[in-house]
């Protein structure tokens, strides 16, 4: 069965520091991968997605993610974090290719120190 693991439940970084959020997936075929962000009490906003092609994908708000098939990973990165990036981040995999059924990880809470 497909699954997504986000090993870090909570991460704290200083404003201006770089960020990397980890995501590992379990999936038999080529996965469709996503990163979403959720601010408190809000819905989910799509940051970026990987379907195929270039393994480094650029997203909104200065985020990027790299797909590494050999490591079954899709880590999210940002070179310089802003205080407004504090939120919950979810990695997701589409369960069986272009069906729209997303399987989410548990999420990583990002706290940004001034």
């Amino acid at each position: 069965a497909q699954s997504v693991t986000q090993p870090d439940i909570h991460i704290t970084v200083s404003e201006g520091a770089s960020l990397e959020l980890r995501c590992n997936y379990s999936y038999g075929a080529t996965p469709y991968l996503f990163w979403y962000v959720q601010s408190p009490g809000q819905g989910l906003q799509l940051l970026l997605k990987y379907f195929s092609g270039d393994t480094l994908v650029q997203g909104i708000k200065g985020f990027e993610a790299e797909f590494k098939r050999s490591q079954s990973s899709f880590n999210l990165r940002k070179p310089s974090v802003h205080w407004s990036d504090a939120a919950e981040y979810f990695c997701a995999v589409e369960s069986s290719g272009n069906t729209g059924k997303l399987i989410f990880g548990q999420g990583t809470t990002l706290q940004v120190k001034p």
Partner: protein
């Protein structure tokens, strides 16, 4: 573009009652999916509607049912509410012909007491 809109925003119900949540998809989208997000957890897929029919279903009991209307809007119904049904219910819409990048609504916070 109003995006995905959900109503109501918050709701309090008593155990055993029934509830209906509503979702209007992003303009031009034809597929609606529903997710349940318990506190501190990632969203879990409930079901998906396309062309007014349930296309996929997650691991949720039959107490959870839905409907999609000709204008693509959708309802989620939950019968015989349990305390454990308290959660944020998220609606996501997408366009099947353009891949499945889902756009989410703000959610409905359901509290069962």
């Amino acid at each position: 573009d109003a995006g995905v809109t959900q109503s109501p925003t918050h709701l309090i119900k008593t155990r055993g009652q029934q509830v209906t949540l509503r979702c209007s998809p992003k303009s031009g989208h034809d597929t609606v999916s529903w997710y349940q997000q318990a506190l501190g957890q990632g969203p879990q897929f409930i079901f998906q509607y396309y062309e007014e029919e349930e296309r996929q279903r997650g691991n949720f009991p039959d107490r959870f049912s839905g409907h999609q209307f000709p204008n693509y809007s959708s309802e989620l119904n939950v019968n015989a509410l349990l305390l454990g049904d308290s959660a944020l219910y998220l609606c996501a819409s997408s366009l099947v012909s353009q891949g499945m990048s889902a756009f989410f609504g703000q959610g409905t916070r359901l509290t069962v007491v």
